[in-house]
Symmetry: C2
Subunit: 422 residues, 2 copies
C-alpha cells in the first residue's frame, strides 16, 4: 500500500524541523548563520549517523527540491533587477573568472594527481558553479544580501549556474563519447541565457495583468499560492529549455518584484518557505556520508580540490578590480558549491568516468566549501563592522529578516529597527 511510508515521513519531518530550528537557533547564538545549524542537523540526522532523514527518498527529495525553489523564488522577489543590473559588469566578471579559474586549476591538479583527461574535465567542471542557495541564504542570515557585494554575488552565482549547465551538457557529450561541436555549445548557451531573458521580458509584460486579476480573488493566501505556482511553472519551463529549475524560480521572483501585489505574495510564500527551506538544507547535510571521508586517497584528492576550489572563487572576487567595496567578502561568498557540483559527480559516477573514491572526493569538496563559508563570511562581516565599513547599513531588511531573521510576533519582542521593506 502506498501509505506504508507515510508514518516514517512524518517522524522524519518532525526530527528534521525540530532539529533544524533548534540547531539554527544555537548557531545564531554563537554568532553563526542559522544555515550552519541546519546543515549540521542534516549531518546528524542523515544516513551515516542517526539515519532518520534519507535524502534519496523520493518524497523527501521532492520536498527538498520544492524547498530550494521556494527559497530562490523568495530571493528573486527581494531582488530589484535594476540594482542587479547596476552591478552587472562586476557580476559578469566575477562569474567568468569564477568559472574559468576553478575549472583550469581543478583540471590541472587532477592531471597532476594522475587522472585521465575526461575525469580531469569532470572534476574541474564540478568546481565551476557556486551554490546560489547556500550563498544567498548565508548572506541573508548576515544581513548582507542587499549590499552591493551581496548583489554582485547573487548575480554572479546565477550566471555561473547558467554557465555550469552549459558545461554540464558539453561534458555529458564528452563522457558519452559524442563529438562536441561549437554549434552545439552555442545552442545550449543561447537556450539557457535566452530562457532568462525571454522569461523576464515576456513575464514582465504579462504577469502584472495576470496578478491584477488574481488580486480580485478575495480568499486569503491566493496571491501567494498563485505566485508560487508561477515560480513552479517557470522552474518547469527552465528545465524544459535545458536550464535549471532554480533559475526559473529565481526569474519568477524577479518578475513579480515590481508588482503591487509583491507584499501579499511575500507574506504567504515566506511562511511556506519556513516549512520547505529547512528541508532543503537538512537534505544537503544528510547526503554527507561521513564514513567515506576517511580514506587517504579521498582526503588527498578532496583536499586538493578544496584548495583550488576555495582559491579559484576567492580570487574571482578580486577580478572586478574597479569595484569599490569589499572584494574579499565577494570572494568568500562565492566559495560554496552545491547541487550542480554534485550533479557532475553523480554523472561521472553513473557513467563510470569517476571511481567511487573520486566521487567521494568531489562530495567532500562540496561539503567543505559549504561548511566553511558561513563562519568565514561571519568573521569577515564582523571585522568589516569593527572597522565601521559595512555591517549595519540602513535598509538591509527584506529577505534577510524574512528568511531567517527576527521574530515577527509583535507580542514577543520589539522589531529590529531595520525591519522596513526596501
Amino acid at each position: 500500500m502506498i501509505d506504508s511510508y507515510f508514518p516514517h515521513l512524518l517522524i522524519a519531518l518532525v526530527a528534521l524541523l525540530a532539529t533544524a530550528k533548534l540547531l539554527g537557533a544555537l548557531a545564531q547564538r554563537i554568532g553563526q548563520p542559522a544555515v550552519v545549524g541546519e546543515l549540521i542537523a542534516g549531518v546528524l540526522l542523515g544516513t551515516s549517523l542517526l539515519g532518520l532523514v534519507n535524502p534519496t527518498n523520493p518524497v523527501l527529495h521532492a520536498l527538498a527540491e520544492l524547498g530550494v525553489l521556494v527559497l530562490l523564488f523568495e530571493i528573486g522577489l527581494h531582488t530589484d533587477l535594476r540594482s542587479l543590473a547596476k552591478v552587472g559588469s562586476q557580476a559578469i566578471t566575477v562569474a567568468i573568472v569564477g568559472v574559468a579559474l576553478p575549472f583550469g586549476l581543478g583540471y590541472a591538479v587532477s592531471q597532476a594527481l594522475g587522472l585521465g583527461t575526461i575525469p580531469s574535465i569532470v572534476a574541474g567542471a564540478a568546481l565551476t558553479a557556486t551554490s546560489i542557495g547556500i550563498s544567498a541564504r548565508t548572506l541573508s542570515d548576515l544581513n548582507q544580501l542587499h549590499t552591493p557585494e551581496g548583489q554582485i554575488v547573487l548575480g554572479a552565482a546565477v550566471l555561473d549556474d547558467i554557465v555550469g549547465l552549459v558545461i554540464l551538457s558539453v561534458v555529458a557529450n564528452l563522457v558519452e563519447g559524442t563529438a562536441v561541436t561549437a554549434g552545439e555549445i552555442a545552442k545550449t548557451s543561447s537556450l539557457a541565457i535566452g530562457f532568462v531573458v525571454a522569461a523576464i521580458v515576456i513575464g514582465g509584460l504579462v504577469m502584472p495583468h495576470v496578478f491584477r486579476l488574481v488580486a480580485r480573488i478575495e480568499a486569503s493566501g491566493t496571491l501567494g499560492v498563485i505566485g508560487l505556482a508561477f515560480a513552479f511553472l517557470l522552474a518547469w519551463l527552465a528545465d524544459e529549455a535545458g536550464s535549471a529549475t532554480i533559475i526559473g524560480a529565481f526569474s519568477a521572483g524577479l518578475i513579480l518584484h515590481g508588482t503591487p501585489q509583491r507584499q501579499a505574495i511575500e507574506k504567504t510564500t515566506t511562511s511556506i518557505g519556513h516549512f520547505f527551506v529547512p528541508i532543503f538544507f537538512v537534505s544537503v547535510g544528510a547526503a554527507v556520508d561521513i564514513r567515506t571521508l576517511g580514506e587517504p586517497r579521498v582526503l588527498l584528492f578532496g583536499g586538493a580540490l578544496i584548495a583550488v576550489g576555495v582559491l579559484g572563487k576567492f580570487v574571482a572576487g578580486f577580478a572586478p578590480f574597479w569595484f569599490n567595496g569589499s572584494k574579499s567578502l565577494i570572494g568568500i561568498a562565492m566559495i560554496p558549491r552545491g547541487e550542480v557540483g554534485l550533479i557532475f559527480a553523480q554523472m561521472g559516477l553513473a557513467t563510470g568516468t569517476l571511481t567511487s573514491q573520486l566521487y567521494s572526493a568531489i562530495a567532500l569538496m562540496v561539503l567543505a566549501t559549504t561548511f566553511i563559508t558561513p563562519p568565514l563570511l561571519a568573521m569577515r562581516v564582523r571585522s568589516s563592522a569593527a572597522s565601521a565599513e559595512s555591517a549595519d547599513r540602513p535598509g538591509d531588511g527584506g529577505i534577510d529578516d524574512l528568511v531567517a531573521g527576527t521574530s515577527t510576533y509583535p507580542t514577543q519582542r520589539p522589531q529590529r529597527p531595520q525591519k522596513g521593506r526596501d
Copy 2:
C-alpha cells in the same frame, strides 16, 4: 534517476494550485463554498479526464496527506475544548446514531440486493465515518464552524472517525477470517479513545512549557513550524496507537489552542495550509474515475448506498432532541464521507471481499455525499439567514476567515468586520 519525476510534479502542482484557486473563487462567486471548486478542479485534472494529477503518485499522495493534517491542525487550533465539551452530550448522541443507523441501513440494503454477510458488513462500515476534512472546511467556508451546530458536527465527526477506526480493525479481522473477541474490540476502542485523552492531558501539561521555550527562538516562523512538527508528531503517535493520523493532528491543535503562542503558530500554519490544503481536496476529486460510474449495477448499488448514507446521517442530526438549534444543519453537515469510507472500500477490494463494481459503488457514495453537502449546506444556511436565525453571528471569524475567507492584504480591500479572533 530519482529526479525524473520532479518536472512532472512541478507541472502537476502548477495545474492543481491554479485550477483549485480559480474554481474555488468561481464557486464562491455563485454562492457555493470554495471547497466545491477545489473538488471539481480535482475531477477535471484527475486520472479519468485530463490526467494531470495522479493522486496515487507517492509524492502527491504524501503532499495531500500532509494537507489534511495541516487542515485538521488548523481546525484544532481554532477549537476551544470547553466549547466542544459544552456540546459534548449532543455530539456523542449524533456520533452514536450517525454510526449505528448508516451501518444498519447499509447492511440491510446490501443484504436485500443479494450480497453476502461479510461484503454487506464492509459496505455498511464504509458508511459510518463522516469526513472531518470536508465537513469542517464546508462549515468554515460558510462561517458556521463556531456556531453550536458547527461544534456538535466537529465533535461528532471526530468521534465517529474513532468509532470508524475501531470498526475497521474488527472488519479487517472478519475479512481475514480471524475470530473477533469482545476483548479485542475493547482493546482497540480504548487505545483509540485513550490516545486522545492522554494526548490532551499530557500535552496540555507539557506543551505550554515547551512552547514558552520555543518562543525564545527569535527567527520568524519558528513557532509555526515547531507547532506543525508537534502536529506531525501526534499524528505519528496516533497512527502507532492504532488511531488515525488526522485525530493526532487535531489533538495537537486542541492542545495548543490555549497557549499564548497560538496566534504566532496560526499565522505561519495558515499560510502553509494555503499551499497544502488544496492539494488534499484536489486529490479527493482526482481519485474519481468517472468512467466506472456509468454501469447499471454500480448505479443501482451506489444509489442505494447514497440513499441510506444520506438518510442515516441526516436523521442522526435530529437525535439530540433536546438541542435548541438547527438540527437539519447538523444532519446535512454530517453527510460527507471521505477517507475512512474509501479505506474500507480499498481493503474490501484488496482482500477480494468486494468486486470492482461494489468498490465503484462505494466510491460513488463517497463522491456523491461529498459533492452534495456543500450546496445543500449553503442553501440551509441561506434559508436560516433569511429567517434571521443564525448566519451572521458576531465573532464567527477565526478559521472561517483563515482557511478560506477574506483577503488579508490591507492594501487590497477593507477587512470584514467580524475579522477579530475569537
